[in-house]
Symmetry: C2
Subunit: 183 residues, 2 copies
């Protein structure tokens, strides 16, 4: 669930850059739908964490992992609602949109990095619990988890680079230029 959250959120961030040929409206719709699915997956994942804790008699919401995680999903939701209202429906005035867009992108990247940091905290926390119950500190599981965490860091860095890189230029085929869509 939380892997799906991060992967779909990443795809949503990259949709404007990975498919420069998409029309602006299609890219925007894909962006908001992917983020919506990511939020639902994230919420289900957090529900499962509470369910597991309650059924195993583990305390809730005491660790930094849980604090940053609740913060990240809350900001993710606020960011989605803000983006929906400003850029989709009902939509703000053009100059408000223009002013809000860089902040939408910057705050979105902040929330994205916060979800990555929360994932890293989760990897560490789970391994610390297992290792204090006797799991080998240099064993195969430990290496697998740490390397997975490194892959998440590198993947996240690649997503951020894709998001901040200048947009690819789309060559118009045969000199044909579509009528620009407003909004």
């Amino acid at each position: 669930m939380l892997i799906g959250f991060i992967i779909l959120g990443s795809e949503a961030i990259m949709v404007y850059k990975v498919f420069p040929g998409l029309s602006h409206d299609t890219a925007k719709l894909t962006h908001l739908i992917l983020h919506a699915i990511a939020i639902v997956l994230g919420a289900v994942g957090i529900y499962c964490a509470f369910k597991f804790h309650n059924e195993s008699g583990i305390a809730n919401l005491y660790s930094l992992h849980s604090w940053l995680g609740i913060g990240a999903i809350s900001l993710y939701g606020i960011q989605w609602i803000f983006g929906f209202v400003t850029f989709f429906f009902p939509g703000a005035a053009p100059d408000v949109r223009r002013g809000a867009l860089p902040w939408h992108a910057l705050f979105g990247l902040f929330v994205y990095v916060l979800t990555l940091a929360t994932a890293e905290l989760g990897f560490l926390e789970k391994m610390t619990f297992l290792q204090s119950s006797g799991l080998d500190k240099y064993g195969a599981e430990a290496l697998l988890v740490n390397f997975t965490a490194l892959v998440v860091v590198l993947f996240g860095a690649a997503v951020v680079v894709a998001a901040v890189a200048p947009a690819a230029k789309v060559e118009e085929p045969e000199g044909y230029a579509p009528i620009p869509v407003i909004g």
Copy 2:
């Protein structure tokens, strides 16, 4: 030590934006000296971690905190050497500098966020160790550590915003403009 590492590194990142009145050369020298002190403090901090582990019979370099930390300080050092050679001495050709600058800034922010993530992992790891030895999960120490970790996240976000924000315009006093310094 590691708090000094993060604070001095942050100041070094912000020096171009917080003091827009500094000459370019002064700002650059301050940037590289602050980062150099930050690296030394970070290295001393890591030396102390190994010393404490060895004297207490704790295993070294098994956790994600240590892995990301070693990665972060190594990349920090590489970034410093690369920046020194390219922008300070002997210095690259002007068009190489121009091409390298945005990558220097982007990679620098990546390494900075990596140090922040490592600090968060350190807070979590230390608290998990203390709490599995019986420290109260919702006690004053736990809240203090978690709120400190939140302050580090917010401070880091503020530093990144300061770094990516457009530069402040410096008004020339009394119509006097200094001779621009080359380099």
